[in-house]
């Protein structure tokens, strides 16, 4: 009996090692994590379709077909708009108002921060360098990474489809590998984790989506250039606690001040973002984020640094949900473990 249990523990350890290996192989791991997170968020929708009498395969197919159709429709509408905004970024900030604002800013920086070695700083030159650098990066991403972009846009829905269709069976097979003594404990743990994580991840996703949409509308009403880019970025940045909302606001301030040459625009943007954050905290989060996973600010910061180091900007964005995931796993494991007498 002991040998059988040891064998199972060995298999389980091997599986966990394989998971860790996947996590550290980079690109594929990023793909898997994104697909798994999305599949997890979409799972209740597939179940709801299934409850209408369709098989799981049909429900997953229908859901994916609807999502892909929606994505294509969004691309048809949004891509021209995004390209327009990219084009205007190439020519933007060249107006008289921008030059005047930059000159005023340059004089102020030279006079007040001269002691920092900024007495001869040329802000316009730095701005042009930053703009061309940014454009170069975007073009490089669109051209050089287009193949991986296509591969990702095909493989992610493919993985999501199979996780939606066969996720339950995969989970069951995983549980089957658990030794008998730890079987009910694993069932208990997986069930509790599923409930907590489901609420947390779906809540985060809905919150980011709502905040992004509201930010886009607000920036459009304020007539801020590249409102779509900044709004989408603000929504995604909102996933990161503490620093996220500020990180989302800074591009809006920079763009609106440079575009209009009016420093008061910064105040409007700050007030708008403060209002949005208030709406988010009072109305959106209590409804969509059913159970918050409290993460210590230092832990969040460390997670963002590690995420950024491993997978870049995307890593920084998925770092917080992933840390939330590990915190739930750890806390629930410890709490559930207390109820069982494994030492006896």
């Amino acid at each position: 009996m002991q040998v059988r249990n040891h064998k199972k523990i060995l298999w389980l350890s091997l599986f966990l090692l394989a998971c860790l290996f996947i996590i550290f192989i980079g690109g594929a791991a990023k793909l898997l994590i994104i697909a798994a997170l999305l599949a997890y968020i979409l799972d209740p929708l597939a179940t709801r379709i299934e409850s209408r009498g369709l098989s799981r395969t049909s429900a997953a197919t229908l859901l994916m077909a609807t999502l892909i159709a929606g994505l294509i429709l969004m691309l048809v509408v949004l891509v021209p708009l995004l390209f327009d905004q990219l084009k205007s970024l190439q020519t933007g900030f060249g107006g008289e108002k921008t030059s005047q604002a930059m000159e005023r800013l340059q004089t102020m920086v030279r006079s007040r921060f001269g002691f920092l070695g900024l007495a001869d700083v040329d802000l316009m030159e730095k701005m042009t360098a930053l703009k061309s650098g940014l454009l170069e990066k975007i073009s490089k991403f669109l051209i050089e990474d287009s193949i991986s972009l296509i591969v990702h846009s095909v493989s992610i829905p493919f993985i999501i489809f199979f996780l939606l269709k066969d996720g339950r069976e995969l989970k069951k097979r995983l549980i089957r590998m658990v030794p008998n003594r730890y079987f009910e404990f694993s069932m208990d743990l997986i069930h509790k984790m599923d409930q907590q994580l489901g609420n947390y991840l779906r809540g985060q996703f809905l919150d980011a989506l709502t905040f992004g949409a509201l930010a886009t509308i607000a920036l459009w009403l304020l007539d801020v250039k590249y409102f779509l880019f900044i709004g989408v970025f603000a929504g995604m940045a909102n996933l990161i606690p503490y620093v996220g909302p500020i990180a989302g606001m800074i591009p809006a301030i920079v763009v609106s001040v440079l575009d209009s040459g009016d420093a008061m625009r910064a105040v409007y943007v700050i007030l708008t973002f403060a209002g949005l954050k208030l709406i988010d905290d009072v109305f959106i989060q209590p409804f969509v984020v059913a159970q918050s996973v409290d993460l210590h600010p230092v832990l969040v910061l460390v997670a963002i640094i590690i995420g950024g180091h491993l997978f870049g900007i995307l890593g920084m964005l998925i770092a917080v949900p992933c840390t939330g995931f590990f915190k739930v796993v750890l806390c629930e494991s410890l709490q559930t473990l207390k109820k069982y007498r494994f030492t006896a």
Binding site: M1, R4, T47, R48, E50, S51, R56, F162, D166, R168, E169, L170, K172, I175, R176, N180, R181, F183, E184, M187, D188, I190, H191, D194, T336, K339, Y340, R341, A344
Partner: protein
């Protein structure tokens, strides 16, 4: 296209699951289910194999659901009372109350011989209710009926014991007077 994740009928037979619907049809909560409904239940059962003397679940630990014995013998033991409450074999089921409440297990289940059992758990029942409410309701209703029947029998037994107690008391009083 072959689905690598799903068991084929041959593999079901190899796993010894082909006779499972017949066994399940004798379990009151799964009785009279249609072929499609039975297949949906079979899909969510967890197959486990235990050696003799191996503990299936322990008294006072959280209960996740019920077990149906495919082959073998299981003893239900009260650890607190140090006595064997019952011995169950092929086709019998135990631990069904855990499907409804979150109270800890009231007894310990130990395999007396090598056993193959199938577990049916609360989270799977809840998930089944979400995706097939009709089937879920059917199972929960039968479970409620089973527990009501047990309650009725327990009430009857309590009444009988009460009557016996009254008789003993009155006999004692007569004897004393």
């Amino acid at each position: 296209m072959k689905n690598f994740f799903r068991n084929s009928p041959e593999s079901h037979a190899k796993n010894g699951r082909s006779d499972l619907p017949a066994i399940l049809s004798h379990v009151p909560i799964f009785a009279d289910l249609s072929k499609r409904e039975m297949a949906a239940v079979v899909r969510i059962l967890h197959e486990r194999e235990y050696q003799a003397e191996e503990i299936i679940f322990r008294e006072n630990e959280p209960g996740m659901g019920m077990y149906i014995i495919h082959t073998g013998t299981v003893a239900i033991i009260s650890e607190s009372g140090q006595l064997q409450l019952s011995e169950l074999s092929d086709g019998a089921f135990f631990g069904d109350v855990a499907l409804l409440d979150d109270a800890p297990r009231s007894a310990t289940a130990v395999a007396k011989t090598a056993c193959k059992i199938f577990g049916f758990f609360q989270p799977d029942l809840f998930a089944l209710m979400e995706r097939d409410p009709q089937l879920g309701l059917k199972i929960v209703f039968r479970l409620a009926r089973l527990i009501a029947e047990r309650l009725r029998k327990t009430n009857q037994r309590v009444q009988e014991l009460n009557q016996e107690l009254q008789k003993i008391k009155s006999a004692g009083m007569t004897h004393a007077s």
